[in-house]
Amino acid sequence: MLYPAAQLVRASFWQFSVTGLSQGFVGLQNYAKLFRQESLTMVVANTLVWVAAVVLVTIVLSLGLAQLLGARFPGRTLVRWALIVPWAASVIMTSKLFAWIYDYYFGMLNPALQALGIVSHPVDWLGDDATVMGAMIAVGVFVSLPFTTYVLLAGLQAISPDVYEAARVDGASAWRTYRSVTLPLLRPALLVAAVLNIVYVFNSFPIVWTLNDRNPGFGHDTMITYMYKIAFKSSLRDIGLAAALGVVNVALILLAVAAYLRTVRWRGEAA
């Protein structure tokens, strides 16, 4: 793990030709060039929206799902298995499947929404600048739900039935019990789910790459797909510059996680 990291840092200080041939040490020039890129601001903003939206929506929905799966009802095993499916399927295949579902001419989504009267005209979900990010976020949530739900479900089941019993004896309402008993005791699990999701969603490549592959430019890229485009798919075609962005990405994600843990007071909670 350390060797590739060291190589990434090293590459960020070198200049390479289009072919990949090393052309010498250039110090911090790649970093200077990176921060001069006009599209960088937009890409950073896209990344923030992408990570924040996917992680928040995933956790809120997973809380509900975990509660549901914790309850006893007929067919629970079946539902639990069904939830694993999007997790077990390859993210690339899932993304391609969604690309077809969203498709303007062939997709299932538009006819369904039109039948329900939600939209009056078909929408080009992946081509219209107003809808691309939302469409990607929905897929991001879909593939993140299983893992998050199971982390929270494990958290729920670790809560002793005795505390619920005590709450019931005290005459607490269901909502009051949830807020004052379940959520506080679920905090370690929520913390794990949030941190891991921030890292995974930030680093997620296939969803954004597959659903956004038809769009020219960098308008809907996150920092991960931007890095790949800088290296291989844009006129920059510069692996030194892409390595510099790679280093920035790693630093950023470490900072984000540290900041998050600080605000939720990890140490106090762990004690």
């Binding site: 990949g20 690339i92 001419y105 062939f106 490549f205 038809r214």
Partner: protein
């Protein structure tokens, strides 16, 4: 999600890694005992079996082992870049570019790795397409040419008697087809990142424009501005294209729509004809490109074999290439893949195939992309990532072309 994103992350990082490895080429003298051959995947059915059997024949003849890798087009740039970065280039590589490698001094020229008989068999246009500074470095592996495809049923239903020969006729025909129904598309225009440079080049040439004027880039010429404005009008004024043509790719966009019978006209190539024949769903015709000025021009694409310089590997490569360029061998493969010949002997053998007639007829007037200029590798990517924006509502063709011109001039300056 966790495991897979990690895999992606690791592979993306790995692609950027292994920087500036020291030039410690283990310069062992003497003959090589193995060569590495990297081939792009043209089709699942034919590419690997053909090269596998060629490699086995080669090993039997020479005793030299072949490390064969067949890599899909989406990741070949990334993987080859990593090989070069790690100072582990293949001996023989199949790619759609060569001049950057020649410029970096990484390649053998034809003098070192081709026998005179093989070289003389190449068609002259493809020799010119493989030269860098007067020497042949990019050896033609196969070629393709675009042609104008039309859906016979849709044109007939729209009352269009013959495929359009001019841009005006194209607009009229496309309007009539478009009027057939809400989901019917007159002309499918793929200007998304996958292959925008090819679609653009054909329109550009059929209006008398070009990539360059002499040795200078001329992407923002008046003629090209007129062409791009025309394409934007097809989308936004005449509204005869599919939705968001600047954001439609070729394979899963325009071709897919045509194969489904929704499209009146599209620019295709012989592999599309093969798929259409296999599916039998669409009755199609193939014609010359409609033109706005002068005779019709089409795009020919030449893919290359290049040979990397490594200690005493020239003879081993020469034998391998000679084996591939045996007339029966190369023809057998090009036929199987549905592409066009690059050698005189193959051309003679394939002339009798009626399905290939429109492409072979178009070949003499076909033009190639400026792949002999190392700047093209960047210009191509720039066109792919920007030209689609010009045909979106509110797009600015002049601004897009000026920007491309500026970047092309800068890329050539280095």
């Amino acid at each position: 999600m966790r495991r897979l994103t990690l895999v992606w992350w690791v592979s993306a990082v790995a692609a950027l890694l292994a920087a500036g490895c020291d030039q410690k080429s283990g310069a062992k003298s003497g003959a090589v005992t193995a060569i590495k051959v990297v081939i792009a995947d043209y089709s699942k059915d034919h590419t690997r079996p053909f090269w596998q059997s060629l490699s086995e024949t080669y090993t039997k003849q020479t005793g030299i082992k072949v490390d064969l890798q067949v890599i899909d087009w989406n990741s070949i740039d990334q993987q080859v870049t990593t090989m070069v970065q790690n100072n582990q280039p293949p001996d023989v590589l199949n790619l759609n570019a060569f001049s950057s490698y020649a410029k970096d001094g990484l390649l053998h020229s034809a003098d070192e790795v081709l026998s005179p008989r093989t070289r003389e068999d190449f068609l002259p246009a493809f020799v010119r397409g493989g030269e860098y500074q007067g020497k042949l470095y990019g050896f033609p592996i196969l070629s393709s040419a675009r042609a104008f495809f039309y859906n016979k049923d849709l044109l007939a239903r729209a009352g269009v008697a013959a495929p359009p020969r001019t841009w005006d006729e194209l607009v009229t025909a496309a309007r009539k087809v478009r009027a057939l129904g809400p989901d019917t598309i007159g002309y499918a225009l793929p200007l998304g990142p996958e292959e925008a440079q090819a679609e653009w080049a054909i329109w550009m040439w059929n209006n008398g424009g070009d990539w360059k004027s002499g040795n200078q880039w001329a992407i923002n010429s008046d003629k090209n501005l007129q062409t791009l404005t025309f394409l934007a009008d097809l989308a936004n004024k005449h509204k005869v294209t599919q939705v968001n043509p600047g954001k439609t790719n070729r394979t899963d966009g325009a071709f897919h729509l045509f194969k489904d019978g929704k499209v009146g006209m599209v620019m295709g190539f012989s592999p599309l004809a093969k798929q259409l024949d296999a599916e039998g769903k669409v009755k199609y015709g193939v014609a010359e490109m409609p033109t706005n000025v002068g005779a019709a021009v089409t795009l020919a694409v030449e893919d290359y074999l290049i040979a990397f310089k490594k200690p005493s590997n020239a003879d081993a490569i020469k034998t391998f290439l000679d084996l591939y360029y045996q007339p029966e061998t190369i023809t057998r493969w090009i036929r199987a893949e549905g592409f066009l010949p690059v050698t005189r002997s193959s051309l003679e053998q394939m002339r009798s195939d009626p399905g290939l007639k429109p492409y072979l007829d178009a070949l003499p007037s076909a033009k190639l992309a400026p792949t002999t200029d190392p700047a093209w590798d960047k210009v191509k990517l720039d066109v792919q990532q920007t030209i689609g924006l010009a045909v979106q509502p509110g797009g600015d063709p002049r601004q897009v072309l000026d920007r491309l011109q500026q970047n092309a001039a800068a890329a050539g300056g280095r």
